[in-house]
Amino acid sequence: MEAVLAAGIGGLAAAGVWLILRPRSFQVAIGLTLLGYAVNLFVFAMGRLRVGAPPVLASPEANDPTLYADPLPQALVLTALVISFALTALFLVVLLAARGIAGSDHVDGREPDR
């Protein structure tokens, strides 16, 4: 599991990095989304992987930490998810505005001089 997830994180990250290095702002937006997935999974993975141990107490008394996956990274990922969603949205709107005003969807707001 670990190796698969690690490879998946790597793949997502590589795709994201490739995209954020592209010249079109839409590519960058998609790249940030993918990179966001990768990083969220990465943060999640930092709590180590557990199968079948969601950090929800089965009963009030069953509060042995070893029974449950580490809840903290999950909480962090939740916060990060929301934030990266918000910022992706913002980036998208800014890229639209830039495209509207500058007339180009190049990330620099103008076509590069050839």
């Binding site: 940030l32 990083v39 180590r48 990274p73 962090l76 990060a80 005003i101």
Partner: protein, 530 residues
């Protein structure tokens, strides 16, 4: 936690949050009310910050505030010590002045300016106060999100173009932050900075390696924010394109990055932290010097004042980071003092740049706002223009400019010089001539002096162009709010210069406090009954 006054520690975060929430409920058109409320809030923030500063200066250690009443390494803790209190005051002064400046017209250049502005202050304050690594991330994001709004405030092609790059770079930085935080957590099992400092010496070699990778990612993040070369190329265009009050308040933003680097590197990688001691110091030193050099080149090459101010911000960050990297406690104290002065001055320069640009080149679209057709034309109400004759306005602006230039170039007799001098004498070990001085320190000394000159030359050019070359056409109009904001910032610079002794003493006490992280750790982790 018994005294009600203790709750003031959280006020720098909660007050702007609540007020901005309330402001959002108000109708967009009630400008006067909103302006009044925001200024009152900014004033209150300043008062609170000063109170905290006094409290921190009086306290033997740090004041910790346990949010949610959870014990320390588990819950989030806000920490007021000399460093964070000082930064709070600085941010509040800048915030107040930038806000007042914005009242002249910028607050009407886009919707919900006041709320965004206060939320930016909230983010900045939170970042200064928090003692938790992930909470720091959150406040970074609050601050950055608001700064995105403010960079784009007023719209316009240049602003949006620069904003896109600014946002892209900072989004990547945020992702690095997450990677770093999670690596730190994965290998130490904690997020509390104080707890981290306690656990760090106990780490095994493999954990330590991975932790250091996390620290490297975190470092890259903060250095991006503090615009260290080669990570800071985004800063000058973004700040130059932002509206003047936004740029002024943004100049504290890059200092948040600097603050965190100072805080964490001294807390975690101080002399007592075992195998990781001094982690990254050479990088900081080298990067700081490179930033100084690059900022100076940029300043020399700058074609307009706002951009020059952007590079001045870079130089100021570079100076502080390099001083930190040099490892000299005396230089750190000088750097902290310098940080305050140079930030104030850079902010003033942003404001001045806009006023002067307006006078010089009324058609300049790059820094102009795009005002709404649905809004009243904010340029119409001329009754707020300062009732001074033109030479007096020019003299006033000239004096403000002179103060800025002297502060930034580090020329006597103002605080810029005092700060630089403190760094230099710290580096040269003038106070304790016993040990040898590293070659890199001499390099930094040289870089600092040359960058002073490199700052002076272009600022001289801009000053002469703006104040001495006779104007054709109407001269700059100065509105009351703008004059007040400028006066406030200049007064800040001058006060820092006049009371250089006490301020420097405070900085020195801060550096001493930072040099022994045990105090911080104790203050945060001290057990309290829940």
């Amino acid at each position: 936690m018994s005294l009600p006054a203790d709750h003031l520690i959280v006020a720098p975060v909660v007050l702007p949050l609540a007020v901005s929430g309330a402001l959002l409920l108000l109708d967009e058109r009630r400008h006067a009310l909103k302006a009044g409320v925001s200024v009152a809030t900014a004033l209150a923030l300043l008062a609170i910050a000063v109170w905290l500063l006094l409290a921190a200066a009086a306290a033997p250690g740090a004041l910790a505030y346990r949010l949610g009443d959870w014990p320390a390494p588990y819950g989030i803790v806000l920490v007021v010590d000399r460093l964070s209190a000082g930064m709070l005051v600085l941010a509040s002064v800048l915030g107040l002045c930038a806000l007042v400046y914005a009242l002249s017209r910028w607050n009407r250049a886009g919707p919900r300016f006041h709320a965004l502005f206060l939320l930016l202050l909230m983010g900045v304050n939170g970042a200064f106060l928090t003692g938790d690594l992930f909470n720091l991330f959150v406040f970074f994001e609050v601050m950055l999100a608001a700064s995105y709004g403010l960079v784009l405030h007023g719209s316009g092609a240049a602003r949006i173009r620069a904003g896109l790059a600014y946002i892209a770079v900072n989004l990547v930085a945020s992702l690095f932050f997450l990677i770093g935080v999670s690596l730190v957590y994965a290998n130490t099992g904690t997020l509390s900075m104080a707890d981290l400092a306690r656990r760090l010496p106990l780490l095994g070699p493999a954990e330590r390696s991975l932790f250091e990778v996390g620290a490297a990612f975190l470092g890259v993040t903060f250095l991006i924010k503090s615009s260290l070369w080669p990570l800071g190329f985004w800063l000058p265009p973004a700040y130059a394109a932002a509206s003047a009050p936004a740029a002024a308040i943004l100049s504290i933003l890059s200092k948040v990055g600097v603050y965190v680097v100072v805080r964490l590197s001294l807390l975690l990688f101080g002399a007592e932290s075992g195998a990781s001691a001094g982690f990254g110091a050479q990088w900081l030193l080298a990067g700081g010097i490179a930033t100084l050099a690059f900022g100076t080149f940029g300043l020399l090459a700058a074609r307009d004042l706002a951009r020059a101010a952007g590079f001045a911000v870079m130089i100021s960050s570079g100076t502080v980071l390099a001083a930190l990297g040099s490892g000299s406690a005396a230089a750190v104290s000088g750097a902290l003092f310098y940080l305050a002065g140079s930030t104030l001055a850079a902010a003033t320069l942003f404001l001045l740049a806009e006023i002067l640009q307006r006078g010089r080149d009324p058609a300049a679209s790059a820094t102009e706002a795009v005002f709404d057709d649905e809004d009243l034309d904010p340029f119409e109400d001329d009754d707020t223009v300062v009732a001074l004759d033109i030479p007096a306005i020019v003299a006033l602006l000239g004096a403000a400019y002179l103060v800025c230039a002297l502060m930034l170039a580090g020329l006597p007799p103002l605080a810029g010089f005092i700060g630089k001098l403190a760094i230099l004498s710290g580096l040269a070990g003038a106070a304790a001539p016993a040990g040898p001085v590293a070659a890199s320190s001499w390099l930094l000394v040289g870089a600092l002096l040359l960058s002073g000159l490199g700052t002076l030359i272009p600022l001289l050019r801009f000053g002469i162009f703006n104040f001495w070359v006779p104007l054709e056409g109407p001269s700059p109009a100065l509105r009351t709010a703008e004059a007040a904001a400028l006066a406030g910032l200049v007064a800040g610079c001058l006060a820092l210069s006049l009371w250089g002794g006490p301020a420097l003493a405070y900085a020195e006490a801060t550096a001493r406090w930072l040099a022994s992280p045990a105090g911080y750790v104790d203050a945060v982790l001290r057990e309290t009954a829940r």
